[in-house]
Subunit: 125 residues, 2 copies
């Protein structure tokens, strides 16, 4: 599994939202949200390409960057390993924690309910 660090994840997220983008575009977008130096972001771009989390094509002077792994895939792998580590692979206790702390809105609960209903549907096979 490609290991993306905390800070690097923010870079990935920019490119998951829109790609391909030039370094300069990525830098601008990230600097709206984070107090990162341009050089810092370049370093992360470099490391991410080395890890093959990003790919790029040459465009004039520089590169056009794109994600080399999809957000879906990353989320799935990361979620699975997280839930494995903390909850022995069971996702329900995690949801329960959110519930206990009142971190679930009515909307969240409704969405979960819908999701569960769909799962119950599907399990008739």
């Amino acid at each position: 599994m490609v290991e993306v660090s905390n800070a690097e994840l923010h870079v990935m997220q920019v490119l998951w939202r829109r790609s391909p983008q030039t370094a300069q575009e990525i830098v601008s977008e990230l600097q709206q949200e984070f107090d990162w130096h341009e050089k810092t972001i370049k370093t992360m771009l470099n490391r991410l390409t080395q890890k093959q989390a990003l790919s790029f094509t040459k465009q004039g002077r520089g590169y056009l960057y794109s994600p080399a792994i999809s957000e879906q895939t990353y989320q799935q792998q990361a979620s699975k390993s997280f839930v494995q580590r903390l909850f022995s692979g069971k996702v329900t206790p995690l949801v329960a924690h959110f519930a206990e702390k009142g971190d679930l809105s009515h909307k969240d609960i409704d969405e979960l309910k819908t999701l569960i209903a769909q799962l119950e549907e599907k399990r008739h096979d």
Copy 2:
């Protein structure tokens, strides 16, 4: 928030299961599962006490270690920050990923259903 590393988490988990325990007991238990040198485990005990994730009381030659943070608390904090990072704080998409990959058993689905039902109950307040 107390930051517990990956390897250190396994040490915490041993003490969450049973505490207090001596270093020797912890080492024995961990070595059943991991190929870690005694010295390695001692280092982790040391770092965890420095981080105040573990506390200890003197007992003869050595220490008796105990968790200084509860598993509940740790799980809650870690879950929240994980879901924040990857899913903007929404837990439903995470569950959906598990669902999609068929990583939810019938039992999991039933448990989730029960949990949701309880939440719906409670929201009449």
